[in-house]
């Protein structure tokens, strides 16, 4: 009997997560690329290429799969346990879970105002709807890595893990989770994520063609569908051209790394929040770093309800920033 084809979108526990293998030839190419960039850095605007044709991910299948994984738990009235979902940056995991929650009438928790989190006065407490299943849409948006800035999240963990908060589904960015594991080091069960997309899965969702190209895309994106979509070259099938990654600025300092890391851990920050998180870096230096990183297409900003825009690491910049932080010994996510 023929084996059923593997599904592209699969929800797995974090321990079952597998990153696509990185072929040696790709590792060597990457070293060579880094070395040549070292010798002759490209000018800053070389990277502004035609890659604005980002592939928009369709999450319907992922949502359907989510239904098959969580529906029993959701409908079991006696089960008051929690479900945690870890979302690597740009992976679409948070969006899929939110849409699934909406479809199943799960009420979404109100996030605290991050601008007031660090005030010495007591912060507002997490409010749970104990009679109903609740969704925490993004735990990374409930804290600022600063003294006083972790109180809301600590209280959330205390109430949620004690069972006091009732039945809930929590979404957390993978970088924030790596940090929060140190803040509240209690191992949690039922920690889910989206399985890494290998070359076959990428082909199924139509992000690229050709074995070598698919493997290269899977390795570059580390199985993250959002990153793969950002580098998708479906219009250039079987292309042998190397992926054009944004480059780091020619001069990188501690402040550069701190800004990148803070943006990842907090899943985006406004300028004023960044200044609160990094008081050791002067306000002018922060602005300089933001502008330099933006010029390199490593970060971008999106408008928010408040007047301050939210800075975040771009999908195309993410592999570069991740490697940069890894080379500097930062605490990384597991994906």
């Amino acid at each position: 009997m023929a084996e059923a084809p593997k599904k592209a979108w699969q929800w797995v526990t974090v321990n079952e997560f597998e990153r696509p293998a990185v072929p040696t030839v790709i590792t060597v190419k990457k070293w060579w690329q880094n070395f040549t960039h070292w010798l002759s850095p490209k000018s800053e605007n070389d990277e502004q290429d035609e890659h604005e044709n980002a592939f928009e991910l369709k999450l319907d299948e992922a949502i359907k799969e989510l239904d098959s994984v969580f529906s029993d738990w959701l409908n079991d009235k006696d089960d008051n346990s929690l479900r945690w979902v870890i979302a690597p940056p740009h992976s679409g995991v948070a969006e899929a879970v939110q849409q699934w929650a909406q479809q199943n009438n799960v009420s979404t928790m109100k996030l605290p105002d991050r601008d007031t989190l660090c005030q010495p006065s007591d912060p507002p407490s997490p409010k749970f709807t104990k009679t109903k299943v609740w969704l925490m849409p993004q735990l990374a948006h409930t804290f600022l890595r600063q003294t006083n800035g972790l109180r809301w999240t600590r209280e959330f963990f205390a109430k949620a893990l004690s069972g006091e908060a009732g039945k809930g589904l929590i979404v957390c960015d993978s970088w924030a989770w790596a940090f929060l594991e140190k803040v509240w080091p209690v191992p949690v069960s039922e920690l889910w994520t989206l399985q890494g997309l290998d070359d076959q899965a990428l082909e199924q969702i139509g992000l690229a063609r050709g074995e070598g190209r698919l493997r290269a895309l899977a390795a570059l994106s580390r199985g993250n569908p959002g990153i793969a979509a950002a580098y998708s070259d479906r219009y250039h099938r079987n292309s042998d051209k190397a992926f054009e990654l944004p480059q780091l600025p020619q001069v990188v300092e501690d402040a550069t790394a701190f800004v990148c890391y803070a943006l990842l851990v907090h899943h985006g920050l406004t300028s004023s929040q960044l200044a609160q998180v990094l008081p050791i870096v002067s306000a002018s230096q922060l602005q300089i770093q933001l502008q330099i990183l933006q010029q390199q297409s490593l970060i971008s900003k999106q408008d928010t309800a408040s007047k301050d825009s939210l800075w975040y690491i771009t999908a195309r910049g993410y592999p570069v920033v991740r490697d940069f932080l890894a080379s500097r010994g930062f605490w990384l996510d597991k994906f």
Binding site: W38, P120, T147, L150, V183, V277, I280, G329, W331
Partner: protein
């Protein structure tokens, strides 16, 4: 008799023709060139790396140099001396006499330098303290180790110090280096509240190595209580900024908690 001993000594050495001299010059030139190249190239490569990779790359410099010089010596000696046991004893005896009288300290430093490469009490990239001088090892030479202090002062310490001085190595070849920020408060302050606040200060520092533990200790002093906040930075080179960050934010946090800092009058301070 005298003529005979002169003849014997002369017999130890080979007669050097132009080709042999040229060969020796080329060996020396190549060895010096290679040593120079490793001393320039490897630190340059290391300056683009961080953490473990940087430290391991830097550690190659003295090892490669000693390897190159030993190889050069092995190639030159047979060109100059007939390498029999008798000849070697004679040459080493003469060399020992010269060293014993004139170059004792110099040679002792050279030998200590070789021991330092073998035992590795310090490697390039380590933060060490010798005779009260604290700095980063930037170069291990044949005779001296070069330190750069936080004030950008270069200190050359002869390897000779290795024999009879205590060498304090803060990171011992790895990227983990404990930093301590100290706080002095009046004795009435709540020690557990201060401990919790200081741990939070370290945890939220951008310099913190998250994989390492944070600890706060307290000790009573005549003027109040002394707190020591201990944590590890991501890179040993960030130690001073890390301590500055913890100190600045720790003071701010303790002031928010209305903790009063200990102050000592100038006269008392002198006594203490």
């Amino acid at each position: 008799m005298e003529t005979e001993s002169v003849k014997n000594v002369a017999g130890i050495f080979k007669s050097l023709d132009t080709f042999a001299i040229l060969e020796i010059v080329i060996i020396i030139a190549v060895a010096v060139g290679l040593v120079w190249l490793t001393q320039k190239l490897i630190p340059w490569v290391a300056s683009h790396l961080h953490g473990k990779q940087r430290l391991y790359t830097l550690a190659l410099v003295p090892m490669l140099r000693i390897l190159i010089l030993v190889l050069a010596l092995v190639m030159i000696v047979p060109l100059v001396i007939e390498p029999t046991l008798q000849n070697m004893v004679a040459v080493l005896g003469a060399a020992g006499l010269a060293i014993g009288f004139a170059l004792k300290d110099y040679v002792s430093s050279l030998i200590a330098g070789i021991v330092a490469i073998h035992e590795m009490p310090y490697r390039p990239g380590d933060w060490i303290e010798v005779d009260g001088s604290y700095g980063e090892v930037v170069h291990i030479g044949m005779r001296t180790v070069e330190l750069v202090t936080n004030d950008d002062t270069v200190i050359w310490v002869p390897h000779l110090k290795l024999w009879d001085n205590l060498i304090h190595n803060a990171n011992n070849g790895g990227p983990s280096l404990m930093c301590i920020a100290e706080f002095y408060t009046q004795p009435e302050a709540d020690a557990y509240q201060i401990r919790d606040a200081l741990e939070e200060v370290a945890l939220t520092s951008p310099y913190l190595q998250l994989g390492k533990p944070i600890a706060v200790t307290a000790a009573e002093q005549p003027w109040g209580t002394k707190y020591r906040l201990k944590a590890y930075p991501i890179d040993p080179r960030q130690q001073f900024q890390f301590v500055t960050d913890m100190t600045a934010r720790g003071k701010r946090r303790l002031l928010e908690l209305n903790v009063k800092f200990a102050k000592v009058e100038s006269g008392e301070a002198l006594e203490i």
